[in-house]
Amino acid sequence: MAPILKIAHMANSPVDFFLAVCIGFFFGLVLESGGLANCRKIAGVFYLYDVTVVKVMFSAILTAMLLLYATSSLGVLDISLLYIPDTFIISYILAGIILGIGMVMGGY
């Protein structure tokens, strides 16, 4: 059953931290391979000269979403144990707008 570490009560253990480094490694590898470490590609989204970031992001969201749905339907993954950020609509709208402004300025 998954999520494995939560069920094994090993959240925030050294194993958790080690896995975080490994997952981060692949996260960085995939982001850079796809061009998301390139600020001109990030900015490209907002001028529509390069929409790589949108393609990568939404394929990733869709893939992860389908995998989460499939595994939880099969009873492999207990989705209620997964972290979901709390819903603060007004803060998120403000934060999103400010982040978008910063993103197009800085290219992050």
Partner: protein
């Protein structure tokens, strides 16, 4: 310099990484928390009382905790290493200031600093950045994350015209 991976392939691979993170650890991906914690740690070295009394950053240090001993900080280290490794294997590693054709290096750095300050503030206000909210929250179909994600696009498109000298 090698071409970037096809964006759909990269996206599917990223989806698998995100899914693996949920499956193994029960948590998604994050980018901004490691930087927030690193800055809090550095500020704490200089002005500990000020940081401790801060409503937001104080709890990083509550009961003598080390703010850097947190899974997203470890993930941040991994992300840096993974990105660096990718530039090596793809022949893309070089020192440069990447910028649009019409802007000076100094101008680009000023824009980057201003943008970075906004992104840093917004990522704390929104409990995450495009990784934690945009990717992980959205894949969980969290309403707040989708609101956040569309607000990011709105903010970016609304501002793009005014900072176009930086990129076009």
């Amino acid at each position: 310099m090698k071409q970037y991976t096809n964006p759909y392939i990269a996206g599917i691979a990223l989806g698998f990484v995100l899914f693996a993170s949920f499956l193994l650890c029960g948590k998604g991906l994050g980018g901004s928390a490691s930087l927030a914690r690193l800055s809090a740690y550095l500020f704490h070295l200089v002005a500990p009382n000020h940081v401790n009394s801060s409503e937001y950053f104080g709890h990083y240090f509550a009961h003598g905790k080390n703010p850097l001993n947190f899974w997203l900080v470890y993930m941040g280290i991994g992300t840096l290493l993974g990105g660096l490794y990718s530039t090596f294997i793809h022949g893309r590693s070089k020192v440069e200031v990447n910028k649009g054709p019409g802007i000076s290096v100094k101008g680009r750095l000023i824009y980057a600093l201003a943008g970075g300050i906004l992104v840093g503030f917004a990522s704390r206000l929104g409990l995450g950045c495009t990784s934690g909210q945009g990717l992980a929250g959205s894949a969980m179909l969290s309403l707040g994350s989708w609101v956040f994600l569309f607000a990011v696009f709105f903010g970016g498109y609304a501002t793009a015209y005014f900072v176009k000298d930086g990129w076009l």
